[in-house]
Amino acid sequence: MKSDERIIRALMESVREDIRAPESLRADVMRRVHAIRVPVWRRALDWVLRPRTLRLSPAGGLAAAGALAVVLYLGIGSMGGGTPADAPVAQENDEPAPTRFVFIAPEASTVEMTGDFADWDPGAIRLRDERGTGVWIADVPLEPGVYQYVFIVDGQEWRPDPQAVSQVEDGFGRENSVVIVSEAVEL
């Protein structure tokens, strides 16, 4: 046999030999696999994204659909709808909600009002009688609190409000009316 043939034969035989891994290879590889830490979020994400097969009977499917419909109905219903009848409308700006004052004086030419919310300036607030019926109205923005006030008829006659929640002595021999302005919405 020529030398070249012997070399080739040796190479061929070496290729045919079974490759045997060392006994410790498997253990070494598994030890390195276990050492790799997968973040919890990644494991959770993999769990969520992994497709699964859901088996559901027709009856079970109908029940699930019905339950979903109820949930959607209740959810949509709570988002929409109106406000309670006695809940004041929220202001879009930062100004407090106006408090309406009404004074009936058919004989009056002018009606003004003042109080501690106006530093008792006699001409601070002028009521309006737009329809000429003697029903005078003013809308005054007031922060929540308790206020005293009076009406002034024709610039001269100071009168309490007969519709007020209360009349209190002013200490000067007259009476002031009291209004309670409460929070717009209590949560």
Partner: protein, 226 residues
């Protein structure tokens, strides 16, 4: 040429500045805390009468704005200056008395100005201090007591027995009934009150009209009105 001792001059200047600053700190706040806006609207004859009262009230931590409002009210109603001074001094005295009475029973209570003003008005309407304190004690949080105390005073003024009024308002406060609902109690009471309807019964009707749950039965085994 005389030599100028800059060190001694500088030292005297520093000392002078320090003395002025110390004097400024020593002057009572009641004197220095002037209200130019308020005083510009008050004529001298009125200001001379009310200023000492307002200064003392400020030093005592009383609701000065409420006292100033009473001054302006008196001026608007053309009340003589002396009378304005008397009324303002009397009001300040009411504030002191009510605050002292409440703090004696509730040492940890911190009264806001609106609460103290409302408590003074309720006291004037016939609510004793211990009744005010009982309603205050029922407060479950730091929400203002201005409206509940005002309503309490209104009920007592309308003839509701004090225990009934206190029981109802304590219940209203403790149950966190919205204040826009509580504020309607006096008006509803007026609507329910008739010649044959005792105040307690009218109060019970008022609560039902406002959907306010009945308060716990009082010691005598009955709620308001029955």
């Amino acid at each position: 040429m005389n030599r100028v001792s800059l060190g001694s001059r500088l030292g005297r200047l520093v000392m002078a500045v320090g003395l002025v600053m110390a004097a400024g700190l020593a002057i009572p706040e009641s004197v220095t805390a002037q209200d130019p806006d308020f005083e510009s609207r008050v004529p001298p004859e009125v200001l001379s009468v009310v200023r000492p009262v307002l200064q003392q009230a400020s030093a005592d931590g009383l609701p000065v704005s409420a006292l100033q409002a009473k001054v302006l009210e008196g001026m608007a109603k053309r009340v003589p200056a002396q009378r304005i001074g008397e009324v303002v001094a009397g009001l300040a005295g009411e504030f002191r008395a009510v605050r002292a009475g409440l703090q004696e029973q509730l040492p940890s209570v911190a009264l806001t100005d609106p609460e103290l003003v409302a408590a003074a008005m309720a006291s004037r309407q016939g609510v004793p201090t211990d009744a005010l304190a009982r309603v205050w004690q029922s407060r479950p949080d730091a929400s203002t007591m201005e409206v509940p105390v005002t309503v309490l005073g209104e009920l007592v003024r309308r003839g509701v027995p004090i225990p009934d009024a206190v029981g109802v308002m304590s219940h209203v406060v403790n149950s966190r009934v919205p204040m826009n609902v509580a504020a309607q109690i006096p008006g509803r009471f007026d609507g329910a009150r008739g010649p044959d309807t005792p105040p307690g019964a009218a109060l019970g009707q008022a609560l039902r009209m406002l959907n306010i749950p009945d308060p716990p039965i009082r010691g005598k085994g009955r709620g308001p009105g029955g």
